[in-house]
């Protein structure tokens, strides 16, 4: 139980540190790009993005500001609702995601997956799907 607590707390920190060191891309920005890349038309409303990233709306505003400044995301007014903004993944953003992807995978393996000897990874994957939803 202690060990579980420690792992839960330190795993994202370890992965974030790796991403930052090897790619200069914080985990939260990577995840934001990742979620955008999977969305229809590679775009999402700010509020949807915030929800899916489990971030406050104001936090999301700032992440997108940083990504926009780097040219990875563009903000466009929502057509149906002029209050809303869509964050759109640019080609540069998609390329950045592809570039950073192996690092994320390697970090996740190194800090987590490689230690799961004896566990049924298929079932684990199913459980993750369930938790994430």
């Amino acid at each position: 139980m202690r060990a579980l607590n420690r792992v839960i707390y330190s795993l994202p920190r370890a992965i974030d540190a790796d991403m930052l060191r090897e790619q200069g891309l914080p985990l939260i920005e990577y995840l934001t790009l990742m979620h955008l890349s999977e969305a229809a038309d590679r775009q999402l409303r700010m509020s949807e993005l915030a929800t899916i990233c489990e971030l406050s709306l104001s936090g999301m505003t700032r992440v997108v500001q940083r990504l926009e400044a780097q040219g990875f995301v563009q903000r466009v007014r929502c057509e149906q609702d002029a209050r809303g903004w869509n964050a759109v993944l640019t080609d540069a953003g998609f390329a950045r995601l592809e570039q950073a992807w192996p690092t994320n995978l390697a970090a996740t393996r190194r800090h987590f997956i490689d230690h799961l000897a004896g566990l049924d990874l298929k079932q684990l994957a199913a459980a993750m799907q369930k938790i994430a939803s």
Copy 2:
């Protein structure tokens, strides 16, 4: 893989939020008390505490300052090395830990363990030990 990323990122946030809402005790402070309670004489050097909590030394200084202000730990000079300080868990700190423990357990269950149907929890526990070390 996406799901795993999301879970790794959001699980500690969810548990921290629960701890804060139900106990007013952030996860990092809970973990600090927990680690101290398990140490010999319920005390640890600042640097050991920082390492075990996977926090920077300066971050640990600040956490211990907050815990000290609440009366949950005391700081005493290290006998063998006057540069060092030991953080000592007080009785009040131990009581606080016992009080917060069920909330932590419940949160961990709710957000994680309960979703692991079909997995061998013994092996998972072993894997966690391995990762944590």
